[in-house]
Symmetry: C2
């Protein structure tokens, strides 16, 4: 009988209730959890007896390099330990899960991918912003904001779809300039969601020309940028406030 | 105490284990579940005492129109029933969840959005295809394939990011032609994933010029198209076969 010795698991945007049922089961049964810094204590607390090890810091800083993470997964799996490689959001959305899957496959280790709720969709949603909406946006793009000089910012025809930028909080000034240079209007609706789905979720919305306004200093969580007309729907949907109201209601229930 | 009278819930790609923990709780506690045809019997079977009603058929055909769905949600919520509006994938990814949220907000009904695992990311992942990969694609776009003449197919610079098309299975010939006319190479790697995450998951991979080859007649589930160099990684990752192997192992364990 072959067991899934290694599970590459998406932990979702942060709220433990947004783990999938399979992710929760894998975390509960793990012997070893190798987690990224984006995965918070509320999720790690769900583990049973697992040893827990942080292997990657914020914004790409590396506690261990990719090869070392691969070796850790492989050596532990060969000793028969059930390894969970736990990543924020979905493991294949800018999470380097593909590299780890390739390393495991090359070593002949049975593994599985457990997709997660991606922050690219969920953080806007929980701020009341649907990434698509009939008559406004029939598609969306998710891009890495780490390098604002990337050609990816000129690859999309302005206003043709919703643009979601992950890991772009620090570079948002340069991203704004790249988009305006490409032809996006200064007054394109835009939003920033920090710590989407968490109790400390914080949302700014305005227009593209205000995107690099200063954030309150305590807003240090992972950020999602959303650019496009769908941001306007926030005032009609306002799931954020309703979510907060419900949160309080549930605590009291 | 205000309860979340209506929950607009993403059911994920189909496998019940890919529901979020919150989605599962809402389904179990519901008095009324209004579901789309994409949501299968394995998920509906998780409901407790709920009345279950199909409100939308496949490929946009409507059992009820959007206004009627809104009225049903509102009238039931006003009678104090807990309503779950259950949608395939994520409710805000081409799922018209925004329209329903606006209707509820306008009626003053407390509601919440429960994001789900989107098939746009998970179906490729479970076929061994990461939508992003370092050095290959630093972003991806998800577009509606229902109308291949849509400007959205010319809005993206060829080969700049991974293109994922939902609801494009029937129109894939016209989509292929639109992309080639826009400058995508005939030999761009491409894949079709039918019924992603389900036991009957079926995957074709090849190149763009083969995208409109005939499918086996029994492959009638929802399809996800993936176009871009990341499709090549499938041969190195092959999560599909490993997933299948594990599935059997788990049944036997």
């Amino acid at each position: 009988m072959t067991l899934p010795l290694v599970s590459i698991v998406g932990a979702g945007p942060g709220d433990p209730d947004l783990l999938t049922v399979r992710a929760l089961r894998r975390i509960e049964a793990a012997d070893l959890i190798l987690f990224d810094d984006l995965v918070g204590p509320a999720i790690l607390a769900l583990a049973g007896h697992a040893q827990r090890m942080a292997v990657r810091g914020r914004a790409g800083s590396e506690a261990l390099d990719q090869a070392a993470i691969g070796r850790l997964m492989i050596s532990n799996a060969r000793r028969g330990r059930r390894v969970v490689r736990l990543k924020g959001g979905d493991p294949f959305v800018l999470g380097r899960g593909g590299e780890e899957a390739i390393a495991l496959a090359a070593a002949g280790i049975p593994f599985e991918i457990v997709p997660g709720v991606s922050s690219s969709i969920a953080a806007p949603a929980l701020a009341g912003i649907p990434v698509t909406h009939r008559g406004i946006a029939s598609g969306f793009a998710v891009v890495n904001g780490h390098d604002p000089s990337s050609e990816i910012f000129s690859a999309i025809e302005p206003h043709s779809l919703t643009l979601v930028v992950l890991m772009g909080l620090k570079s948002r000034g340069a991203i704004r300039r790249a988009l305006v240079a490409r032809g996006w209007r200064h007054d394109t609706p835009a939003a920033i969601v920090v710590s989407g789905s968490m109790p400390e979720q914080w949302v700014w919305s305005g227009t593209l020309d205000g995107l690099d306004a200063e954030l309150p200093p305590e807003r240090t969580g992972p950020g999602t940028l959303v650019i496009g007309d769908v941001v306007r729907l926030r005032s009609l949907i306002d799931a954020g406030e309703i979510g907060e109201m419900l949160e309080k209601a549930e605590v009291g229930s």
